[in-house]
């Protein structure tokens, strides 16, 4: 199945893209997506404890099951607002 992955902030710079289409095995979870990047990008691995994930635009846990066409967001700590 395919899921769309959106990368933000410094993750976008580390991966070098803002968007990926990943082909995953059935049964893949959000954690599978995290592992995919952590294995390929040491800097991503280093940040992984501070990253949050969204599934279809809502925060979700690593155990969340993925489905064809899902939109996954990989989100570094946010820094909106001011002071």
């Amino acid at each position: 199945m395919r899921v769309k992955v959106l990368l933000f902030g410094q993750l976008k710079d580390i991966i070098g893209r803002q968007e990926d289409l990943l082909e995953l095995e059935p049964g893949a979870k959000l954690a599978t997506v995290m592992t995919h990047y952590a294995e390929r990008y040491p800097k991503f691995q280093g940040l992984s404890k501070s990253i949050a994930c969204s599934l279809n635009q809502e925060y979700a846990q690593g155990t969340a099951m993925l489905q064809e066409g899902d939109e996954v967001g990989l989100l570094p700590p946010v820094s909106g607002g001011r002071s």
Binding site: F8, Y59, P77, V78, S79, G80, G81, R82
Partner: protein, 159 residues
Amino acid sequence: MTGGKIESAELRSEHCAIVRDPINVAGIKKELEHPEDGAALYFDGVVRNNTRGRRTLYLNYEAYESMALNEMERLAQAALEQFKVRQVRLVHRLGRLEIGETSVLIGVASAHRAAAFEACRWLIDTLKKTVPIWKKEYFEDGAVWADGEAFPEEIRVNK
């Protein structure tokens, strides 16, 4: 900036907006206030000219726009319920912001001031921790993504 598009129409929900043009404070004041209110409180987040003493030239804000609007609206609804304030508005601006410009405006209207203060404080504190917006700071010798606050425990993926 979903999918790398820089241009984006203004996004609006019932109580919130994400905009690219300067935030219209007078317009928000007009939308927010009502004759039942006794107090309105506005938090105005301003782009500062330095970060820990290092001179900032300007900032660039990016967001996971559709999700950011959803999260802002969720905060707005929660504030209305938890603090019993009458009305709230949350507006965040994206794109390049110059020193002294407003990046976020939060307005809270209430019959009584105590609730307005509590709701406004909670809204800005929570927005800064959970709404997916990121800021890149441009200095004379380069640019860096600002360190965000750590996500609340319940949001992190790897605990």
